[in-house]
């Protein structure tokens, strides 16, 4: 597949934005802890950036994304404002969900970001909704759901595969198989090596892809989105990847060191950079500039978040009813 170099550079930038977002968020979290303030759960997407970016590159603002507990990457890739996201992490009124949602519940429906989910697998049936709506209205929108290998053991996910396949809904399920579900290794969660046959057993397309290879993800997602838009039906993509950090901020690292080292060596950002450098699509200087810019952007986001006001406590009952 031919990808315009501009597009690749844009995607690289997004991947850096995600990584930088996570690093900045961790700093804020530790700052908060230092002053005795809980800031809830924080699940880093570092290491998995190619998945969100490669998939969302094919989406329009009127396509929907349903995210998971590990949702910062999906949100940024879908186009969310990192300032509003950062403010959300601090529970500010300027946050992307007005401080009501926090890390796991970032919403921006105007760009198709339909929220993270604190329930593992919780997004899988919701994602059927906009896909159904597109089919119902005869439009060509698609709906994408990101979830983990752990979520693939939730029953509802299988109901969704069945229904999506039965009704040929324009939905794409993207399983981010990072080999771990919290502290449980994949061998204690899956009796099989691959998820694609499961999709096939429901009569639907299933593919596996190297989730650390942006080009591979981009290509697989492009096909899936194309098929969905054309009304051919849903696709399940299993992206094999790895998270660089522990499950969340409060659970210590428990994974084997050599496994970690192994996967760090397969870092999706370094890999894409290597490709772009080799192809002459970016220079060392441009790369350094890009990183500097992104870091500045995230610093500005952190400042914006810190300086933003918290919601007035008296407004706790707002936004329940429409």
């Amino acid at each position: 597949m031919q990808i315009a170099q501009d597009d690749l550079r844009r995607m690289l930038r997004l991947m850096h934005t995600i990584r930088s977002f996570e690093l900045t968020a961790q700093t804020l979290f530790r700052e908060g802890l230092a002053v005795g303030q809980f800031l809830g759960a924080l699940h880093s997407y570092e290491g998995e950036e190619a998945v969100a970016v490669g998939v969302c590159a094919h989406l329009r603002d009127d396509d929907c994304v349903f995210s998971s507990h590990r949702g910062h990457g999906h949100s940024i890739a879908k186009g969310a404002d990192v300032r509003a996201m950062m403010a959300e992490l601090l529970g500010r009124e300027s946050g992307i969900s007005r401080g009501r949602g926090g890390s796991m519940h970032m919403f921006a429906p105007e760009i198709g970001l339909m929220g993270g989910n604190g329930i593992v697998g919780g997004g899988t049936p919701l994602a059927l909704g906009p896909a159904f709506a597109a089919q119902y209205r005869g439009t060509d929108q698609v709906s994408v759901c990101f979830f983990g290998d752990g979520a693939a053991s939730q029953g509802v996910f299988h109901e969704c595969l069945n229904l999506a396949s039965l009704w040929k809904l324009p939905v794409i399920y993207v399983c981010e198989n990072n080999l771990w579900a919290a502290t449980t290794p994949i061998c204690d969660g899956w009796p099989v090596a691959d998820l694609a046959p499961r999709a096939e057993s429901f009569g639907m397309a299933g593919v596996a892809v190297d989730g650390n290879d942006l080009l591979a993800v981009y290509e697989a997602a492009g096909e899936a989105v194309g098929r969905a838009r054309e009304g051919v039906g849903p696709t399940l993509i299993e992206a094999k990847t790895y998270r660089h950090r522990p499950h969340c901020m409060v659970i210590p690292e428990h994974r084997p060191e050599d496994e970690l080292a192994d996967w760090h060596a397969r870092d999706p950002i370094a890999r894409l950079e290597g490709h772009l450098l080799r192809e002459g699509a970016i220079s060392d200087v441009e790369l350094a500039d890009l990183v500097t810019e992104v870091e500045a952007e995230l610093q500005a986001a952190a400042d914006f978040a810190r300086e933003s006001a918290s919601p007035d406590a008296a407004t706790f009952a707002d936004y329940l009813w429409a």
């Binding site: 919403f107 329930i119 919701l126 597109a134």
Partner: protein, 322 residues
């Protein structure tokens, strides 16, 4: 005026709203081919086509989740769960998703969803087909809860529920389906959140819901001349028209709540709590809740009748406080 059944009233409400608004569709098990096992959606498929009357596999979690997601995308699903007992298989979609999405998103997402189901005992269907679970839905904030007792209310409330921008759980009663009542030929709505005085009285306030409204009216007949009962039909638990209850209790000084749900831990206790907090001084006798015995529903008809509250139980409770 016409005299129509509760089923027919519901059927008309759905048909009228589907005609009025293309965004309204029906989804659920067996809803197309036989119009649902109770026949509430009979004729819909013929009239509106299979696209708008979507018969599903037995996948409550997936299709309820789809309905939530479709509502987020601007459609107005009417989702039928055949028995409220089966809502246990999609509680996540109801309590953690539908009820919370708007709030978690800081008001950005709207979920104009109706979940229709039926509950109640009296048909010898035993413990997994006879429950009354309104207390669960009314306790968890974010869903409106309707429990119509008459064909008139059933139609008017269902139309309002479909037009409401919030998720509404609409609880019918299997023993009410064949009951008949008066209804105008013209269109009308019954607003959510307005109780109805089904019979005026001066001595004892009986607050009732669903089938128990009929039982309360029977009790009132039985006691006519002895005790004058005011029967208040709540019609919706959320929003709760507490003013209607308070006004009556301030008049009578005596309260009996009649619910078919288990007596302990049900919504009746909530009404007693509110009355105590807001009109304690008006009470001249202990408020009482009449409900089912606190056991799973037994199959055997004699046992089932022993468990269910009937008009006599209300009569006894009224006499005890009068």
């Amino acid at each position: 005026m016409r005299n129509v059944t509760y089923i027919r009233a519901l059927n008309e409400a759905i048909a009228e709203e589907m005609k009025r608004d293309e965004a309204v569709f029906v989804i659920g098990e067996d809803v197309a081919d036989c119009g649902g096992v109770f026949g509430v959606t009979a004729g819909m498929m013929k009239r509106f086509g299979r696209e708008r009357v979507r018969q599903t596999p037995i996948s409550e979690a997936a299709f309820t989740g789809l309905a939530v997601g479709a509502a987020m995308a601007g459609l107005r699903p009417i989702c039928e769960i055949m028995y409220v007992d089966f809502a246990t298989t999609c509680m996540d979609q109801i309590l953690n998703q539908a009820a919370k999405l708007r709030y978690m998103s800081g008001g950005q997402v709207t979920v104009p969803l109706v979940i229709r189901t039926q509950q109640g005992g009296g048909t010898c269907e035993a413990a997994q087909h006879s429950q009354n679970l309104e207390a669960i839905f009314a306790h968890v904030p974010g869903m409106k809860v309707a429990m119509p007792s008459t064909p008139y209310d059933a139609k008017g409330l269902l139309k309002s529920a479909i037009r409401d921008h919030n998720p509404v759980i609409f609880l019918e009663h299997k023993l009410l389906y064949e009951t008949k009542g008066e209804m105008p030929r013209e269109e009308y709505l019954v607003p959510l959140g307005e109780a109805d005085v089904k019979r005026e009285g001066t001595d004892v306030t009986v607050v009732a819901t669903s089938l128990m409204v009929l039982r309360a009216l029977e009790a009132a007949e039985t006691l006519a001349g002895e005790v004058s009962i005011e029967v208040i039909d709540l019609r919706t638990l959320v929003p709760l028209d507490f003013e209607a209850i308070a006004a009556s209790v301030r008049k009578t000084g005596r309260l009996v709540v009649a619910q078919e749900a288990w007596t302990s831990g049900g919504f009746g206790g909530e009404i007693v709590r509110r009355v105590c907090e807001e009109c304690f001084d008006a009470l001249v006798a202990p408020p009482k809740v009449v409900g089912s015995a606190d056991v799973p529903m037994p199959f055997s008809p004699g046992l089932e009748q022993a468990v269910l509250p009937d008009a006599d139980a209300i009569v006894d409770a009224v006499r005890a406080v009068a």
